[in-house]
Assembly symmetry: C2
């Protein structure tokens, strides 16, 4: 299956669900060989995640109950883009809301497609440095434990399977 | 917001959509402070991804049109778990179907939660070594270009933003 043309043309799109955060659509597509197939697509506003350094060896992590998995995960701070929101502004807002910190230096690192088989979600990454405490925030629906953990410990926890959040693994490839 | 209890209790669950690959449910949950909120959850069967070494410096990548993003992505080979399927067996099947290769050595590396804010999808990773050509495969709905790329080149392409697939970044933290 080498060097085939890959493009899939959208023949039609059915709106299945319009939710608070995500929308679900079903597309009929024309495959490269002319046959038809369906694609189930979750439309997501995108998100921003922040690798925030307290000092050069220590980052801020957040512990959160993740209802889809029914368990607590340890992750880098992150949050969804609001409609029309600037990406960097979202990152700064989420960092303060989730951790209470404001960063003087905020540097774009890159982005990932989280799981491109069924969603259009991108996560944009920033590195935050030179932090100081702002006014403590808190989304109404979010209950979060803030942790300061050394980079080496985070990398150990990834290898041991204690940290399994996809974006938290991915960001280290962009440092 | 430190040291709060984090658990969210499910009060009820409404089935929104049962699809070919994914299901969508909406849950009413009780937050740690007793208030109620809703969670939109995409249930996914999970997937297996393979870091397959042609030699010690070269891996197999696949180029695929990803309809949710309407673009081609370069990724490590991967595929969804079928109902009741053994995880390793799925990985071996997907490697052969997508690339034509069978591995003598197949080693479990770990797993990620791809995007735990809205889906229960896990991706399980394997390292495949000592490869030989099997009978060439091909899922009916998949059109794929197989590429052999050096590890250094893959890491460069991640840093430059040419590779943005989340699982492909994540797997290198588990090597």
């Amino acid at each position: 299956m080498v060097n085939v043309k890959l493009f899939e043309e959208t023949l039609n799109e059915e709106k299945i669900y319009q939710g608070k955060f995500i929308n679900l659509v079903k597309q009929k597509v024309k495959l490269p060989d002319g046959k038809e197939s369906t694609r189930e697509i979750v439309r997501h506003p995108g998100a921003v995640a922040i690798l925030a350094f307290i000092d050069e060896d220590t980052i801020i992590m957040v512990e959160q109950f993740r209802k889809p998995l029914d368990r607590i995960l340890l992750e880098i701070p992150a949050g969804k883009l609001e409609k029309g929101e600037d990406i960097e502004k979202c990152g700064r807002r989420e960092l303060e809301e989730e951790t209470g910190y404001i960063a003087k230096d905020f540097t774009y690192l890159g982005k990932i497609a989280t799981t491109p088989g069924f969603t259009d979600e991108y996560i944009y990454f920033y590195k935050a440095e030179d932090l100081h405490k702002g006014k403590i925030g808190g989304d109404e629906d979010e209950f979060i434990n803030v942790k300061k953990i050394s980079l080496n410990k985070v990398k150990e926890m990834i290898k041991s399977g204690e940290i399994i959040d996809g974006k938290t693994l991915a960001v280290f490839m962009l440092m």
